[in-house]
């Protein structure tokens, strides 16, 4: 049976540009598929992705949910006899997916290279500078007198809350569209492999959240990864969860208080002994510790085995900026140095906005897209 392969050479070049630069070294020995402890027995990855990439089989690669099953421990790349870095290829395919499945692909392009970083920063920088200028005009000073209360300069009711709510729900809408696009493309190799009654998608989704996301079980199963990557990732994950709960509580009590006045009890800045503040501070500490571990693991990687790319460093640096400006906002407020405190808080708002507004196009988009892919493969019995 003659089978004509139609390679998409442009696609191969794009793939090499987003982190798959070694893919052509592969000679298809299949060590990687065996080395990967979480790759399934039937049509295991990443050997098949390596040959598809070499041959420029774009459709196969783009319709493949397996790229999301990989948790990037790097065991395949460590054992690869050719230094073809299959782990990096799967990461590159995910980076490509962020560009491809989300609406407004130009933002995906901006996130793909440092030359567009200025655009990404400029939008929130101008946005929050305008707020700052208007308020400074009203107050008569760029740094309000008296006790440092960030609400004086950036009031919740008219600036922070509406801007972040619009940003947040916009992000959710984009994720919704992206998720639909992603599910529409999935055409995995092989058949549905479920024995007996197939679980519903929703049931699978809950199982993924409970069995995989909450516990980070796959990280533990991940090969020879002796690093503390799991601890780091888990800390960052729960830190964000804690900070989300804090934000939710403050916003909930505040806006709820407009309806039921007795709820209006959480006024920022909170007392350091307030349980919500304690949770917030614990979250900040967990975030910094987790980030230190993840950054360290990434810095310690042997570039012969795995190369970190711009997607990796962009996300790490933005989260670092969010965490550090958050912590320093609190410290300079407590130290009562208004000029520095308000300026740092401004940067904090800029970076937090960057984190959330661009989330679906950044590497952090895996929070939604990986979960969806894991749900999907579970639904069809592939795991």
């Amino acid at each position: 049976m003659a089978h004509r392969i139609e390679p998409d050479l442009q696609f191969v070049k794009e793939l090499q540009a987003v982190g798959g630069d070694s893919l052509k070294k592969c000679y298809q020995c299949a060590t990687c598929s065996v080395a990967c402890p979480i790759s399934p027995a039937s049509n295991p990855y990443p050997r098949k992705e390596m040959v598809w990439a070499s041959w420029g089989l774009k459709d196969k690669l783009l319709n493949n949910p397996d790229i999301w099953l990989c948790h990037n421990c790097g065991t395949c790349s460590d054992l690869c006899p050719r230094g073809a870095k299959p782990g990096d290829l799967l990461a590159a395919l995910r980076n490509m997916a962020y560009q491809r499945i989300n609406p407004m692909p130009f933002i995906g392009k901006w996130l793909s290279s440092p030359k567009y970083l200025i655009n990404l920063i400029a939008i929130p920088a101008i946005l929050w500078a305008v707020v700052w200028f208007i308020r400074a005009g009203q107050i008569g000073s760029f740094f309000p007198e008296g006790e440092i209360v960030y609400g004086k300069l950036f009031p919740g009711d008219f600036t922070i809350d509406p801007i972040f709510m619009i940003t947040f729900f916009g992000m959710v809408a984009i994720f919704f569209k992206g998720a639909k696009n992603l599910l529409a493309t999935f055409k995995p190799e092989g058949e549905v492999l479920v024995l007996g009654k197939q679980k519903s998608m929703f049931r699978c989704f809950i199982d993924v959240l409970v069995e995989e996301v909450a516990t980070h079980k796959k990280f533990k199963d991940c090969g020879d990864d002796k690093s503390d990557r799991k601890t780091g990732h888990l800390l960052v994950f729960y830190a964000f969860l804690a900070l989300m709960v804090v934000t939710g509580l403050i916003a909930g009590f505040h806006w709820g208080g407009k309806v039921i006045p007795m709820l209006d009890v959480l006024h920022t800045p909170l007392n350091l002994l307030n349980p919500v503040k304690i949770l917030a501070n614990l979250g900040a500490i967990a975030l910094i510790v987790g980030m230190a571990i993840l950054t360290n693991t990434r810095r310690g990687k042997d570039p012969e085995k795995s190369k970190s790319n711009y997607y990796d460093w962009y996300l790490l640096n933005v989260i670092w900026a969010v965490a550090l400006t958050g912590v320093f906002s609190e410290l300079f407020r407590l130290a009562d140095i208004p000029q520095i405190a308000y300026s740092v808080y401004y940067v904090h708002l800029v970076t937090v906005w960057m984190l959330f507004a661009y989330l679906p196009w950044s590497k952090l988009g895996h929070i939604v897209y990986r979960t969806i892919a894991l749900t999907y493969v579970r639904h069809m019995g592939r795991q």
Partner: protein, 412 residues
């Protein structure tokens, strides 16, 4: 000035180089590290291209040496230093004591009566031997070697009483004047303990291809019976793991040229002994250069010999049965599985002997340890010191090196 030639290494390429030069009238010294000539070929059961037993091809070489007064060979000898330049080298050689008389007395009975046993390197750890020994019955020189330090005190008394043994023979150092040098230092099997995902040499029934040669050899530890080292059971299902440490930047970065052929050859050993046994060769690419392709076609016509594309990347032992479980993806079918075998053979590659060893010759080695330079200095490489080769091509490269060496010393 000297028109003698030094050949370092008494394996197939070194013997060939030495004889070609000697038979044209040049004085040749062979310096061989081990106690016997013949090198790696002597360890094989059969060798390419005609699948002869080594006693056949080597016997001819030994006869040629015996008849030719131009060839002088030193065994248990190593080169310490080389000074000078083409046409005028001074080479210091140390010779370890053999501790037996030069009369080639048959010490077989005495050896058999000893109680001490030592690990047998010639049999790659598959057996033990006495400290008074010969590698094979056809070993050349046909003269026993005694290791006095490894004798028990009772054995020492027995051996001391023999006229043919000298427990106190001292090491010697000599100096040779030569005009040219041929490096035929050969190869060593890649160290399986580096292959952490392939059992690292800790799994009894997961052996290397050189161990398989010893098992299949009539003068090996099992008298030629291919049986499991753990329990002597006849294997019904055997796997060969190709590229075990070859073509791998974490181990040997090159293809060892002959391992695919060696596994096909060994598959035939198994199939000849066991008409019901099932043999699978797991490979990345079956490399059967030139006319060897015909050999493969013939071999795989056997329906019990299977070729599966996919490199084995995991080997485990089933402690209860001694079985060996290999984990591999069949890259054609796209299915990975753990497959149980009675016995597994790792097709390990050839590492040049000079890799990680001292290099008193002042020649440049590449990162893998192969000789890449030296011709301008009057030093020529032959055989697997140069690149991985089969026996036939080793012999050819020996002839080639001999010719170059002769051109260097001619007329001096």
């Amino acid at each position: 000035m000297s028109n003698s030639i030094l050949v370092v290494g008494g394996g197939f390429s070194g013997l060939t180089a030495a004889l070609e030069a000697a038979e044209l009238g040049y004085e040749v010294y062979i310096v061989e590290k081990s106690p016997f000539l013949g090198g790696r070929v002597a360890q094989l059961n059969k060798y390419f291209p005609k699948l002869c037993p080594p006693s056949c091809g080597l016997e001819i070489q030994y006869q040629r040496i015996k008849k030719n007064p131009n060839v002088k060979f030193l065994t248990m000898a190593t080169v310490d230093s080389v000074e000078g330049e083409a046409g005028n080298f001074t080479v210091k050689v140390s010779i370890a004591p053999r501790c037996t008389a030069p009369s080639s007395a048959d010490l077989g009975e005495l050896a058999a009566s000893l109680e001490s046993e030592v690990a047998d390197e010639f049999n790659l750890g598959l057996a033990t031997r006495k400290p008074l020994y010969m590698d094979t019955p056809f070993a050349f020189p046909n003269r026993f070697v005694l290791e006095p330090k490894k004798l028990s005190s009772a054995d020492a008394i027995k051996v001391g009483a023999s006229d043919a043994c000298d427990l106190n023979e001292a090491a010697k150092e000599i100096e040779l004047s030569v005009g040219s040098i041929v490096l035929a230092t050969g190869w060593k099997p890649y160290d399986v303990t580096n292959l952490s995902n392939l059992g690292a040499g800790q799994i009894t029934n997961c052996i290397s291809n050189m161990q398989m040669e010893r098992l299949a050899s009539p003068n090996g530890p099992t008298d030629g019976g291919i049986t499991r080292p753990s329990d002597g059971k006849a294997p019904e299902k055997i796997a060969f793991v190709q590229c075990a440490g070859s073509r791998d930047q974490n181990h040997l970065g090159f293809c060892s040229y002959i391992c695919c052929m060696a596994s096909l050859k060994q598959a035939l050993y198994v199939r000849e002994q066991y008409p019901d046994a099932d043999v699978t060769i797991y490979y990345i690419d079956m490399r059967t250069p030139g006319r060897y392709d015909k050999f493969m076609r013939k071999a795989i016509a056997d329906e019990k010999l299977h070729l599966v594309k996919g490199k084995v990347a995991g080997v485990e032992e089933d402690a209860a049965t001694g079985d060996v479980i290999v984990e591999v993806e069949d890259a054609v079918k796209g299915h990975k599985a753990k497959i149980r075998h009675d016995m597994v053979v790792l097709a390990t590659g050839m590492q040049p002997s000079l890799a990680g060893d001292t290099n008193p010759f002042g020649v440049e080695l590449d990162e893998e340890g192969f000789v890449v330079d030296g011709e301008a200095k009057g030093i020529f490489s032959a055989g697997c010191a140069q690149k991985p080769l089969d026996v036939m091509r080793s012999a050819q490269s020996g002839t080639s090196a001999a010719l170059k060496a002769i051109q260097t010393v001619r007329g001096r």
